[in-house]
Symmetry: C2
Amino acid sequence: MPELFHIVPEAQHNALVEAAYCHRGYHADEAAEGARFCAEATRHGIRTHNGLKALHLDHLFGTGVKGWTPGAQIEEIPTRFAAVKVWNANRKLGQSIAYRAMDTAIKLADQYGVGTVSVDNATHYLWGGGYVIDAARRGYIAYTNCTAAIAEVVPFGGKAPTLGTNPHSWGFPTIPAIGFPIVIDWATSVVAMGRVQQLKREGKPLPPFAAVDKDGKPTTDPAAVTALLPFGAHKGYGLSLIDELVAGFIGGSLPTLRNQWNNRPEEKHGCSFFFQVIHPDALSGGAFALGRNQAQNVKAVIDDVLGHGNEACILPGQIEAEWAKKTAAAGGLLFSAAEIDAFNELATECGHPQWNRSALKTITL
Amino acid sequence: MPELFHIVPEAQHNALVEAAYCHRGYHADEAAEGARFCAEATRHGIRTHNGLKALHLDHLFGTGVKGWTPGAQIEEIPTRFAAVKVWNANRKLGQSIAYRAMDTAIKLADQYGVGTVSVDNATHYLWGGGYVIDAARRGYIAYTNCTAAIAEVVPFGGKAPTLGTNPHSWGFPTIPAIGFPIVIDWATSVVAMGRVQQLKREGKPLPPFAAVDKDGKPTTDPAAVTALLPFGAHKGYGLSLIDELVAGFIGGSLPTLRNQWNNRPEEKHGCSFFFQVIHPDALSGGAFALGRNQAQNVKAVIDDVLGHGNEACILPGQIEAEWAKKTAAAGGLLFSAAEIDAFNELATECGHPQWNRSALKTITL
C-alpha cells in the first residue's frame, strides 16, 4: 500500500539527533557519529533502527539508567598479535564504537589481508548492517556480530529466554559487480519483539514456531508471547550461540544479566562487539575464467544464481539499496507523519527547534 | 531404536581406505589424509560422510570422471598480505587440502591473531565439521565454508536449483570449559538430497518447505522432489550466497557448472574452500567478572544459557562428542553390517583383504 513520506533534509535530521544526544550528555563527536548512523539507517529504509529507536534505547539502557557513559574513552588492550585489536569501550555510545572499530579493522585488513576488532564493555550499536554496508561501499568484505541488549530468545529445546536476538551481518563489496553491496543481515530469532507487538496491535497471528508462551510452548497468539524462538530450529540456535561464545571469549557478561546494571553488581553487564574485515585482494587467486577480473567473476556467479528461471529473486541488501536510491532522488530522509511528530517530541526534550511538518515536502512511495 | 554395530579397529579401517585411495591413483600421503578424515567422521557419528561416501564421491566427481588429480601439488599464489594465504589446489584430494589449509591458518593465527586460507580449484572436503573440530581440539576458533559439488538448492523466491548445499562450520575451543568443542556445522538447505532419498525409500513425507517439485512448487512428497530449499527462507538463502560470493572473489566457478568438467570447458568447474582461524587470546580483553579466566567465563555464559529451565537443551557438537566417547570405549570405529559389506566391496575393488564380519566384536547402542 502506498505510504506518504515527509522529506527531511539530512543536515536538518542530523542537527536534531545531535542536539538530542548532546542534551543527554554525549560529546559532540559521539553525537555526530550517533546522528550519522541514524541517517544511514533511515536512508536504507531500516525504520526499526532510526533516530527515534536510537534515542529510545539510550533511555532504556543508556543514560536513562546510567548504563552508558557519555565521553567514555576507548582503551586499547595490549595484545601480542599484529592483525587484531582488542578494546575496552568503557560503555561508550555504540555507534561511536562501531564506526571506529570498523575503520580500525579496515586498516588492519589493508596491511595484513584480514583484521579483527573485539570490543568488551560495549553498549548497543543498533543495526550491524549499517557498518558492513559502509565497509562494503568502501571496497571491503566485512562482518560483525554482537550480543543483544536483553535475553528474549529461548534456546532450541528449551523453555526460558536466555539468549539475545544476537544478529549477524555480512557485507560484500559488490558495487563494481552489480551496483550495490550485498548485505546479509538479520537477527537469529524468527521475528523481533517489536514485530510481536505490531501484530498484537493489528490483531494478527505470528508465524508458527516464532515464539513461546509462559509455559515455553510455541504459540502464534501475539498476546500470549513471553519469549521468541530462534529461526531454523537448531541452526538459528547455533548461530545465536556463536555471538555468546565470541563474547564469552572476549570477556562478555552472562546473557540473562545483560544491561541489568543493578542486578548482581559483581557480574559484568555490557554487550560485546566483534568486527572483521577482509581485503578482497586477500582472497583472490587471480585465475578467473574467460579472462574475467574479480568483479566480473562475482557478477558471473550472481548472474548464474539468479538465472535459469530465478530472475524474480532478489539479493540480500537490494531492498535497502533501492530505498537509498529513492532517498537520494527525494533529496532528503523519508519519515511518516507519526515519525515527524515523535522527532518533534525529542526536539521539545532537548530545546531544539521543531520540524514544521506542513512546510516539509512530501512523496508517496 | 537400538542398533547393532561392528567394531573395526581404526588401523584396520585406515588400511582399507588408504588402499582404496591408492588403487585409484592417489599418493600415500593423500591416501593417509583421506583415511584419517574418514575415521574422524565415523568416530563422531557422521555416517553420511564416512569412507564409503568419500570413495563414492571420488567415483562421481573425482578420479571416476578424471575430475580430481591424484598427486597434485598445491601452489601458493603470491600475496602482499601477511596474515593470509591463497592456494591453487590444482584439484588435489579435498581432505588433503583441508587438513593442510587448517594447519596453515593455525600458524597464521599463532603469529597474527587471525589467519585465513582461500583455496581455488578445490575438490570436495566432505564434512567441514571435521576440520573445525580438529582445530578446536587444538585450542583454536575455526571456521570454514565451501561451495558444494553440485547445484541442488533453489534461491529464496526462485524455481531452479542454482546453489549448492553450501555448508558453514564453526568450531570453538570449549574443551577447557565444558569438555568438548562446540561445533556449529550444517548445510544451508533444510535437508540433504540423501535424506530425501531415504524418506522416499521409507515412504515418509518431507518436512514442509524443504524441497520443490519440477514446477518449483514446495512439496512434501519425496518422489516429486527435483530440488531443495534453503532453511529459514531468506536467511538460509543469504548464508548459502556467502559461500558463492567468497568463492567468486577467490576465483570460483559458476554454481550450475560445478564439477561438470566437460560442460563449457572454457569455464572453471572446481569448488572453492575458505578457512579461518582465530587464536582465542586474540579476542580476550582479559577482564572477566569474578576473577574468572577465559575458559571459566565461557563456561559461565554456557551455564547461563542452559540454566533457568533449559537444562534439557543440548549444545551443537555434543552428540558428535558423545559418539566419539562411545567409539573410544568400544575400542574401534562403529559400522553397521551393511556398511561392513560395502567396505568389503571396496576391498574387492582394490585387492585388499576382506574384513571378516563374523570375527568382529559387536556392540548395541
